[in-house]
Symmetry: C2
Subunit: 404 residues, 2 copies
């Protein structure tokens, strides 16, 4: 078996730690800030159970293969209006979630060797999705207050870069927890228009908005060059696997072929049941409840960070999403901090390195903290413990200034 | 938008007719033998509804992201024993269905330009799954009584062919409706061992067995070089999207990475609910009921074909699966027959061309008929009408002997 030849791209693959993390975080003694998990306590389980049983009782073909559910697409058109996006049913493409959206778009847009524009810190799932297409990742920095460095993008384009696509998370950036400023949004779509490259807008955290300062998605500013990805995973339940894209209609037939080759179709039962739930008008009130709960968790985490992290650490203050990005002072190595945090305090987080397109000292001193999955008590207790590890590490060998 | 550059492989893509067919076949006036759909009347809907509600009521994380469900893997190990396959939980990989299995394996095994061994008539979904990997398809004939021409495979290997993989459907071949003979099975796995290439065994029709002559899957003859794909789509319900693979344990980490990049995970709720259903011991009795019903439909279709097709037409007599493959006499063009069948008689089927790796006169005179989806009445009525179109076509311009 060791003689089975695998495709060339697999030789560069490093096993993602995320699946392992999922297993580890199931341990009851662990407080995990590692993954982008919604709070299971907030799942509208009985409403979903009702939607499933209603759907099965009333729709004869709910267990069959089937074409994408038109009535769900129409519900999504309505939902998008609440994000300030005007679109038509014909521009909606249903997926099993945003990860599949990325995967399909990568296949459609990227030839081997093509430059793909990302940020120094980029959602690892996007990096995985494009890897089999063998792209050349070209990265710009992310500012913790205004998001993607769009001026750096412009310089690269002026110097002749022709990206196959550009990926970003403008609302509640994963991993950096920042939302892109209005000027940056306007400039990025203007650049896409001028230099004719598609932007993959990952908006899975768009509806999780904690301030009244919510800025318009890129798709609301530009229809032809923005490929928008949404998901019910963060706002309803990931265990259903239903998401969507809003794309130019001309792309739909290509997406349909690529999707069919990937998994034939999205589970009919899940599509129809989400539609049943949406048609009952239950999603927007549910999102409002989620936002209240997650805002409270975010604020709790920010307060404990303030009291328990070193004075020269800094972090993002997210208006959207599930993550706070913490930059420890120069010299820290968060992989070593993580090891100690697990061993000594039973605390999990993801080190910056997990998202770094290129390894760097900047990435090495960062960590991503999820605030949606844990209870308020776990957040307080967990950040106090994590702060202890961080402060203790400063004067010891775990802080890599000593090691270099 | 028309300026958006798509990846090179898309330039060779021809839109599959399957999604269009799914839409068309929803018309109530159509009798469709086109798609590999199970019978919706036979779905165990209330048992599935019960499994879903039990799962939601008893498992707190059923709506969350999650690692593959171990208890489902163990159920599958038991199930595989009923196919004569001995395997371990660590060799089971859960998928959203066999189509995803093919997709993941294609990505892992195929480099651009690699030869991939298939049959002249090969399931179109496999052709779609490998297309983005830009393989060179190398095809051998399929005998309607013994399946894949394994002697032709041997000759190619002797001449130096080193396939990245070999794809076949040994039980209830799609589209040809034949099951591979025992001698062919033994020889194919011996060749895989000798020449060290993996066989992708698509066994989604393995449990749909209508005779006592059922032959062992390739995986039961060879553990290291056979990558087995199973699915609950044909034996339970496709609308759940749950399937599995049995592969050497060393391949699992690579599959996990590729799967995670594709869609993060298979719907937790669907996995857990299938597990709940299996744990209740309901699947095997359900499969027995399916086999009884489908055997009856197969026999009905064979009887009407016998009475209503031209005397010099021939067809496979399937021991497994969902399809009968009909070869019309030389000169027929089944694309033209299909057009007339739809227009004049409201009958759908898939023409041989839809499966042909290389276009040929042999492919052009064939058609695939599904017998699982229609009722006995529809089968009788539909084949009588189809026979009328075929016989009428013989003396007219639709029969391409006249046109050439």
């Amino acid at each position: 078996m060791s003689d089975m030849q695998l495709a060339a791209w697999t030789h560069n693959v490093v096993r993602s730690s995320i699946q392992d993390m999922l297993v580890m975080t199931a341990r009851p003694d662990i407080i995990s800030f590692a993954l982008g998990l919604p709070s299971p306590a907030l799942f509208p389980t009985s409403d979903i159970a009702e939607a499933l049983s209603t759907t099965l009782a009333t729709q004869a073909n709910a267990l069959q293969y089937g074409p994408p559910t038109s009535s769900l697409k129409r519900q999504i058109v309505d939902l998008m209006r609440h994000r300030g996006v005007r679109c038509r049913e014909e521009q909606i493409f249903l997926t099993t979630g945003a990860q599949q959206g990325m995967n399909l778009l990568a296949r459609l847009l990227v030839n081997p060797g093509d430059p793909v524009l990302v940020e120094h810190m980029t959602y690892s799932g996007f990096q995985q999705a494009v890897a089999p297409c063998a792209p050349r990742l070209v990265a710009v920095p992310t500012d913790l207050e205004t998001g993607m460095d769009v001026d750096a993008v412009e310089r690269m384009l002026q110097e002749g870069l022709c990206p196959a696509c550009c990926y970003t998370v403008p609302a509640g950036h994963n991993p950096c927890g920042v939302s892109m400023g209005m000027a940056q949004r306007a400039k990025l779509v203007a650049l896409a228009r001028k230099y004719q490259f598609p932007i993959i807008e990952d908006d899975v955290y768009g509806f999780l908005a904690y301030e009244n300062t919510d800025l318009p998605p890129l798709r609301s500013l530009e229809e032809d060059w923005v490929l928008y990805m949404g998901s019910f995973s963060k706002i309803l339940a990931p265990g259903l696997r239903v998401g969507w894209m809003v794309v130019p209609e001309s792309l739909i037939p290509y997406l349909a072929i690529t999707k069919e080759a990937s998994d034939i179709d999205t589970a009919t039962l899940a599509q129809r049941s989400v539609e049943t739930y949406l048609a009952q008008g239950k999603l927007l009130p549910h999102i409002a409840r989620l936002c209240d709960a997650y805002r409270e968790r975010r604020d709790a985490m920010l307060a404990v960070l303030h009291n328990h992290m070193p004075a020269d650490a800094r972090w993002s203050v997210p208006t959207n999403g599930m993550f706070i990005w913490v930059e420890l002072p120069a010299g820290y190595d968060t992989e070593l901090v993580l090891k100690r945090a697990i061993d000594q305090e039973g605390i999990f987080f993801l080190p910056g390195k997990a998202f770094a397109v290129v390894e760097s000292a900047d990435a090495r001193r960062c960590m991503r903290l999820n605030f949606s999955n844990c209870s308020l008590e776990q957040i307080t207790e967990g950040i106090v413990r994590l702060g202890r590890v961080v402060v203790d590490s400063k004067s010891e060998e775990i802080c890599s200034t000593r090691r270099i």
